[in-house]
């Protein structure tokens, strides 16, 4: 692709809507700042109604921010209409033109740019081969399967070589299997072309698998930004920890710092845990543990009683009670291990690298 892709910068963006029922104004997006490097794949992730679509539509220009400024590259674009912005959006409903065939759909943006016919043909052909849809040029869009429609929507957005690609839940209308293969496809194409992509989803495994960076949103605000690994293992807040995957929270108390590690006491038993922040001695805190990070065995840190034991294929799922806390455990490769039954007594423990302090 000839063009250099552009970065996107949001500076203190807000969007205020009026609730049609109560007539009251509320922030759909509030004071959001974000810096997206050129060529990266950034995912906006969050529960329904948290403002992901609104943010994306402000970048595309369909909504105008009520506060703040949006930059595309170095250019402020608040006052530009969507057709003047160097963005291309892939919609959840695909939004293919039902009165055009595949070729005309993909060529639409190129024809607007008044390119010579030969170049249009060439570029459409190239992009269709990239999304593996050659030979379908003459089909009407309603003669395509969902996955094929999605590819055409992607091709139509890619062919104009936009500075930024925007996706609003592009895969949510597809079945689970197709979703997985399409997301790999999107990631592959994005990396081949080195294009900046902003992707909205509320499927966390989708976000994990394709993003360079994930932006977690909650109630109109950004809760945390980071790589998938950072977000997963080092959530900044209970919300993020709970939203991404499953998390166990163990109440603890800080005993002291030892060469970058934090010594905490859980139910009177001491353990070392990694932490990003300095903690004060005596402070109450929570140890965050992923289900697969907990080890269950005949000895360990804390005693517990098994309340649920369930074979899931690749792992054994346990719910155990340690003190008053319910702890969920995913014990991988159960075939090699001892299986505990409901009512059994056991011990749980964890490696210090896998735990995280909040």
């Amino acid at each position: 692709m000839a063009k250099i892709s552009k970065g996107v910068r949001l500076e203190h963006i807000s969007k205020i809507y009026r609730d049609p029922k109560t007539g009251r104004d509320f922030y759909a997006v509030r004071d959001t700042s974000l810096d997206i490097e050129p060529g990266t794949f950034v995912t906006l992730l969050g529960p329904s109604g948290c403002g992901k679509t609104t943010t994306l539509r402000m970048i595309a220009g369909f909504e105008s921010p009520d506060e703040g400024e949006i930059f595309l590259g170095e250019e402020p674009i608040n006052a530009l209409t969507p057709n003047k912005r160097d963005t291309a959006m892939v919609f959840q409903s695909y939004a293919l033109f039902p009165h055009y065939n595949v070729f005309d759909n993909v060529a639409y943006g190129l024809r607007l740019r008044k390119l010579p016919k030969a170049e249009i043909d060439e570029r459409v052909r190239r992009i269709l081969s990239l999304v593996e849809m050659e030979g379908m040029e003459a089909r009407m869009t309603n003669q395509l399967s969902g996955g094929q429609q999605q590819r055409i929507a992607l091709a139509r957005a890619l062919v104009v070589e936009p500075g930024v690609l925007l996706f609003d839940e592009p895969l949510s209308n597809l079945d689970a299997k197709l979703r997985v293969s399409m997301r790999t496809e999107i990631r592959r194409i994005q990396q081949t072309l080195g294009i900046t992509a902003i992707y909205v989803t509320h499927d966390q495994s989708e976000a994990m698998s394709i993003s360079d960076r994930i932006v977690i949103m909650n109630a109109g605000e950004i809760a945390q930004t980071g790589t998938p690994m950072q977000i997963y293992y080092h959530p900044d807040s209970a919300f993020v920890a709970d939203f991404i995957g499953e998390a166990n929270f163990l109440a603890a108390q800080v005993m002291g710092m030892e060469n970058g590690l934090c010594r905490v006491s859980i139910d009177g038993r001491e353990a070392l845990v990694e932490t990003a922040r300095a903690m004060e001695v005596g402070q109450a805190c929570q140890v965050v543990l992923r289900p697969e990070a907990i080890l269950i065995g005949d000895k360990g840190l804390l005693p517990c009683k098994v309340e649920l034991s369930c074979f899931m294929g690749s792992y054994q799922n346990y719910h155990v009670r340690a003190g008053d806390t319910l702890v969920k455990i995913a014990d991988n490769c159960p075939i090699n291990k001892k299986i505990y039954r409901v009512g059994d007594e056991a011990w749980i423990g964890f490696d210090k690298e896998c735990a995280h302090l909040l």
Partner: protein, 575 residues
């Protein structure tokens, strides 16, 4: 919190102004609507309370209100609207109920219903008055020739109510049919299950659910009836309504100011009814009947119920069709009432005296008005459904307002507003008496219908389809031409034909504005009927019906071949 969305609104506005096509479209629209809908109506109001000599005064109103003629006309109008409204709604309900709820075996029945609901659309709104006179008048085929009644009196309230009911009930039938289809059958089945009789189910479930819809249908007919000019003119005899009184005040008494005051009264009446209908009943109708029926309805097959109702409907349909059929025969019989031998004399006569001109003028003016209206209403619906800007509410309201304005009122408004130019300054005076003003009247009269169907067509289109075109770099004009319009092509064509049909059959506003330079079919029919030359009037009406029916056939043919729905249907077949 900042002042609610101030920056966002400012940016939205800047984006709007960054799009010159959009801005100029909105500007042109606003000017058109202001100039040709709001201004003439405002003129009427100003005219009737303000004069150059005395300033603000209620003298005109006092004078008009004290006219016995006017008072009678007012009560007559209300009486007429009420009767026509009730009869049309009840008849419409019966037809709709039979259509939706009854197991009707014969295909003929269904066909009959279709014909009955199509006839008023394809015929000028006053042909039934002609048939009424032909069949039941003093020399009527049924009254005199068959029954030997020599003093039959159909002129007056009775005649108008019959004619208006037959003309307007199909509208109620279509409206109520749509609503009945939306009633979830399980509601009625639940009542039936608990032991209610069919009649009980109808009165305790169906009817209450339908009540706002019935009110809606009643008011729509009421407005139509009150606004109707041609039927009371032809068959009213000495029974004057507001519409005819206004017309006579202009053409007979040469009292244009008095006519303006009367027009204000008539307009207030229809406007109030319209506002109730639009903002109160329409919403409630939607609220009680949400969404689609969940399942097919078990049709009533019980003979004791279906038989009487279907027979009633069939007889009725047959009667309506008989009424319409008598029009071409009225044109073909040598002398109705005396000499029932077939002859072309009436056709020959009209073509010898101005017939060709009338057809040419009517055809040409309507043909020009149709595409303008169709495009204009699509643009308005596009703006209303898809865009946000400040004057949007004004545009939507004004174009819908035209629905509530009786043609006669609009006609008087144009006379007062344009005869001496805008605000009496002579500006645009050249418009008055031209074909252009007739075209404008056609456009204004059909705009609400086109806009309404455009809006409902556009609501079906997923917003993101247009957004993606916009996003890829198309400006709003481009988006409209390459994406929106092709997607609502069907609605556009039917709008085109509907407008054409409405224009070529229009009379109420036109009759006040037309000058001898133009000869129009509808005014010719009116003229001949007034003179008692029913043969010629029928000849005109027959040809008019043929033209209209022809254009509708053409439209259906066109939509079958080129329509979007056809393309998609085919694609699905192949795919």
């Amino acid at each position: 919190m900042v002042a609610a969305g101030a920056q966002g609104k400012r940016l939205d506005r800047r984006k709007l102004f960054g799009d010159p096509i959009m801005v100029s479209t909105i500007a042109v629209l606003l000017i058109f609507l202001l100039l040709f809908i709001l201004y003439p109506l405002a003129t009427l109001l100003v005219d009737s309370v303000f004069s150059r000599e005395t300033g603000f005064t209620l003298d005109v109103f006092t004078r008009v209100l004290s006219l016995g003629r006017f008072r009678t006309a007012f009560t007559n109008t209300l009486q007429l609207g009420l009767l026509t409204g009730v009869f049309s709604t009840v008849l419409g309900l019966m037809f709709a109920y039979v259509d939706v709820y009854m197991k009707v075996r014969s295909r003929v029945m269904k066909k009959l219903f279709d014909v009955v609901s199509l006839l008023p659309v394809v015929s000028p709104p006053f042909v039934l008055s002609l048939s009424m006179i032909l069949l039941f008048g003093r020399s009527g085929l049924i009254t005199r020739t068959l029954l030997g009644i020599y003093d039959s009196e159909i002129y007056g309230l009775k005649g108008i109510v019959v004619v208006q009911t037959l003309t307007f009930f199909p509208v109620c039938y279509l409206m109520l049919k749509g609503l009945l289809r939306n009633i979830d059958p399980s509601l009625e089945e639940a009542a039936r299950d608990m032991g209610a009789t069919r009649w009980k189910v109808f009165t305790t479930v169906t009817l209450p659910l339908l009540l706002p819809g019935l009110g809606n249908a009643f008011l729509v007919t009421f407005i139509e009836s009150v606004a109707d000019f041609a039927n009371p003119m032809l068959i009213g005899g000495s029974f004057d309504t507001l519409a005819t009184t206004i017309y006579l005040q202009v053409t007979g008494a040469y009292d244009k100011v008095g006519a303006a005051a009367m027009a204000v009264v008539l307009l207030s009446l229809t406007l109030v009814l319209f506002l109730i209908q639009k903002y109160y009943l329409e919403k409630r109708t939607v609220a009680t009947l949400t969404g689609k029926a969940s399942r097919e309805r078990m049709l009533i097959a019980d003979r004791s119920v279906t038989r009487p109702l279907t027979i009633l409907c069939t007889l009725f349909s047959a009667f309506v069709i008989l009424m319409y059929v008598s029009v071409p025969f009225g044109a073909l019989f040598k002398l109705w009432g005396r000499n029932y031998s077939l002859s072309w004399v009436h056709f020959e006569y009209i073509f010898k005296y101005g017939g060709i001109r009338a057809f040419r003028d009517s055809f040409l003016l309507s043909l020009i008005a149709a595409p303008i209206t169709a495009l204009l209403s699509m643009i308005i619906s596009y703006l209303v459904v898809k865009k946000k800007f400040r004057s949007k509410a004004l545009i939507e309201f004004t174009s819908m307002l035209a629905m509530a304005v009786p043609g006669t009122v609009l006609g008087v408004g144009y006379i007062r507003g344009y005869a001496n130019g805008i605000f009496g300054t002579g500006l645009l005076q050249g418009l008055y008496g031209t074909g252009l003003i007739l075209i404008i009247v056609f456009v204004v009269r059909s705009l609400p219908v086109g806009t309404r169907s455009g809006i409902s067509a556009l609501r079906q289109i997923d917003r993101s389809i247009e957004e993606s075109a916009y996003d890829m770099g198309a400006n709003s004009g481009r988006v409209f031409m390459t994406v929106t319009l092709p997607l609502i092509k069907d609605s556009f064509f039917s709008g085109l034909v509907t407008t054409f049909v409405r224009s070529i059959t229009a009379i109420s506003a036109i009759i006040l504005l037309v000058t001898p330079k133009y000869l129009l079919i509808t005014t010719q029919i009116n003229e001949f009927a007034e003179k008692g030359k029913f043969g010629e009037a029928c000849a005109y009406a027959t040809i008019l019906i043929l033209i209209v029916y022809g254009s509708i056939l053409l439209m259906n043919l066109f939509m079958k071949t080129f329509g979007t729905s056809k393309k998609i249907r085919e694609a699905q077949k192949n795919g």
